[in-house]
Symmetry: C2
Subunit: 202 residues, 2 copies
């Protein structure tokens, strides 16, 4: 039987990462969020800051200023951008991880990367903007200045990134088996809904 995989896609500030962590902890599954950045770092030589941002967000013109670590610095290599190279490496690592053991993977288009895997539950977590702002400031230590604009920019960049590599609409319910409004249900209950209803038929 294939290992059970849960992918969690989420709006920034929705608490999706915490929900994923709770699910992994309660089920005794491995958990990949920042851990994925470490794996990609080991294989690519890209700087961690670049991996963290570039593996989930489309770049705007003025933020291609990362230290790219040990990787080659040419932005394009035979029409293949550095983002594309990161995406390919990231994709292979996600597939590799998913073949090994049950785990929860947060973000990085994992729902799409693993779309042909049967034993995979794809979850999307979203939330009202007010609760997201509160969480970003109080839990993630974000500055209050222009915070709403920052969140909306992040949504936009994730949307573009997802569209670019999947040709799908980010947050569209059809792409996921389960979409939850964490503002309505709260963090703990979101985790419980996921856990209590995993399909174990495969």
């Amino acid at each position: 039987m294939e290992a059970q995989i849960i992918t969690i896609s989420r709006e920034y500030g929705s608490g999706g990462r915490i929900i994923g962590e709770l699910v992994a902890e309660k089920l005794g599954y491995a958990f990949y969020d920042k851990e994925l950045v470490d794996e990609i770092f080991k294989k690519s030589g890209f700087a961690k800051e670049f991996i963290a941002e570039g593996g989930e967000y489309a770049f705007s013109k003025n933020n291609f200023l990362f230290n790219l670590g040990n990787a080659r610095l040419s932005e394009y290599d035979f029409g293949y951008s550095i983002s594309d190279r990161l995406y390919t490496i990231q994709q292979n690592i996600i597939k590799d991880i998913a073949n090994k053991k049950p785990c929860v993977i947060v973000g990085r288009n994992a729902d799409y990367v693993l779309k042909d895997k049967k034993n995979c539950l794809n979850v999307f977590i979203h939330c009202d903007i007010k609760t997201r702002i509160d969480r970003a400031i109080n839990d993630y230590g974000e500055e209050t200045k222009k915070i709403e604009k920052k969140l909306r920019d992040k949504d936009e960049k994730r949307k573009i990134y997802y569209k670019n590599y999947t040709d799908r609409i980010w947050g569209m319910s059809k792409n996921y088996n389960l979409c939850l409004d964490s503002g309505y249900y709260g963090i703990e209950r979101c985790a419980n809904i996921i856990i209590e209803n995993i399909n174990r038929h495969f």
Copy 2:
């Protein structure tokens, strides 16, 4: 305390109506699907066939051939189309129903019509195309000929209708508190997830 309302939006063939019926039955709530058509018929004089189709689907040019019942037959009345008149009547009836007693309302943009109501859980049910086709043929008695095209046309018309009256994207997870893939979870479990997790804080 406001009455608890559950709205169920759904793809045709996803089993959303049956899920709504099960939820209403188990919770002892009133159920509005075809019942809503009857209510609208009583108030509008429009033919039931027109209400059933015209209250959820955008019209294509060649299907404005309904018998409009006792309603006036001019398509436009001071820039206000017959569809708009139906929408207004339907909207008022939905608001009226939602103020009276706990209920489950299927379709007809009820999620949007009741968006300012606090005690309202908005659910979207979707499903893979294969299961939808099977259900449409075996449970709803649809003809097998061109059935996939028929389902995709229905999706498209609901999408256009929803966009027209709400300026939102139909099926986008942000519009709902809970989106469920009935192909993954099955009908019974979808109903249970809804029932077991209703937020009763308000």
